[in-house]
């Protein structure tokens, strides 16, 4: 087909409005939250002492970490889904949540006696955590990968990893409502491991799914 003929066909097709990427991400986040919430309510549900837990410091802090992680992943992902994206525009953003967690761990180590450190870190529910965060996160991951496919990522593997990070952070935000282990030591080990599973999955799948 000669280029002028192709341009004619493209011009005829240009009347169709296309949803801007920003809007697509908004819808994707909304859909992901709804799906993660449904999966969470069907499989787990919130813990029984939710009211009391809200009065503590450790329990609400879990959401500070997971929501911060989700927000910074989303900001990065919005630029990573563009053809102009370079490797990572603002890598410091991704250190925000880990930095908060590190700070909390320092405080935890100061106020909890050393004999309790391992107990807090191992927790009571680690296998649950490793199972359910990926399970809750799988539908959000699918939605975010589809949105990435709608975009035009120039670095699909990196974009895919951040996609998994976002899905993991959304899933962890819900799982944290159920999880009885509130110590930042537990978060640092098990939540991180669970989110890493989704991150690896995203990095593996995106180059195939989001090809353009």
């Amino acid at each position: 087909m000669d280029t002028n003929e192709l341009i004619r066909a493209i011009a005829a097709d240009a009347g169709r409005p296309a949803m801007p990427m920003g809007r697509a991400w908004q819808l994707a986040v909304l859909a992901a939250i709804l799906l993660a919430a449904s999966a969470f309510l069907v499989m787990l549900g919130p813990r029984h002492d939710l009211g009391e837990a809200l009065g503590t410091i450790r329990f609400p802090f879990k959401f500070v970490v997971t929501v911060t992680l989700a927000a910074s992943a989303l900001v990065l992902l919005r630029s990573l889904s563009q053809p102009t994206a370079t490797a990572l525009d603002r890598p410091l953003l991704l250190l925000l949540a880990p930095a908060l967690l590190a700070l909390a761990i320092a405080v935890e180590l100061l106020i909890v006696p050393p004999s309790q450190w391992m107990v807090r870190m191992i927790g009571t529910n680690s296998r649950f955590c490793l199972t359910f965060i990926p399970l809750i996160g799988i539908a959000p991951l699918a939605i975010f990968l589809a949105t990435l496919r709608y975009g035009a990522p120039s670095r699909p593997a990196i974009a895919g990893a951040v996609t998994g990070l976002l899905a993991g952070a959304v899933a962890a935000s819900f799982y944290a409502l159920h999880c009885p282990d509130d110590s930042p030591l537990f978060l640092a080990v098990w939540y991180t491991a669970a989110i890493a599973i989704l991150t690896a999955l995203g990095a593996m799948l995106a180059p195939r799914i989001a090809q353009w």
């Binding site: 087909m1 066909a9 493209i10 005829a12 697509a24 563009q82």
Partner: protein, 145 residues
């Protein structure tokens, strides 16, 4: 403009810059929603062109690995046509019959959407859908071969 950008970067005889131009034009069209309306256009345009060029080089790399030693002797000498030149028939062959009819009428014969709809006895909406799917299919197919 895109053509000159790509020509400067394609020193390879085995890659026809015009093919990459076409792929870039298609990608610019199909991914136009990734342009942020207050961002400059040129970097976005060049990023897409570069992506398509890298893609074409990668495919070409894959092709040479298969090893075509001696194939030059089999081919007649008078074929200066670049290896990857895709002619009209080959591009249209990639499509379903319905898509092919629509894309051919609009691109080759220069019909409007309305004329094509009348001629094929379908609604304008159906024509628009076939056209868009046809273009997406061409773009996906370019990526593979």
């Amino acid at each position: 403009m895109i053509r000159s950008f790509l020509r400067q970067r394609v020193a390879h005889q085995a890659i026809d810059p015009e093919d990459v131009v076409q792929e870039t034009l298609l990608a610019v069209h199909l991914k136009r929603h990734t342009w942020i309306s207050d961002a400059p256009v040129m970097p976005w345009l060049y990023a897409i062109a570069r992506h398509k060029l890298v893609d074409a080089l990668r495919r070409r790399g894959r092709r040479t690995e298969i090893g075509l030693e001696g194939i030059d002797e089999l081919a007649p000498d008078h074929t200066p046509e670049p290896l990857l030149r895709r002619d009209l028939e080959r591009v249209l062959d990639m499509l379903t019959p319905a898509q092919r009819a629509v894309v051919a009428a609009i691109s080759v014969e220069g019909c409007s959407i309305a004329e094509t709809a009348r001629r094929l006895g379908k609604s304008e909406t159906a024509i628009r859908v076939s056209l868009h799917r046809g273009l997406s299919a061409i773009s996906a197919r370019f990526r593979r071969d």
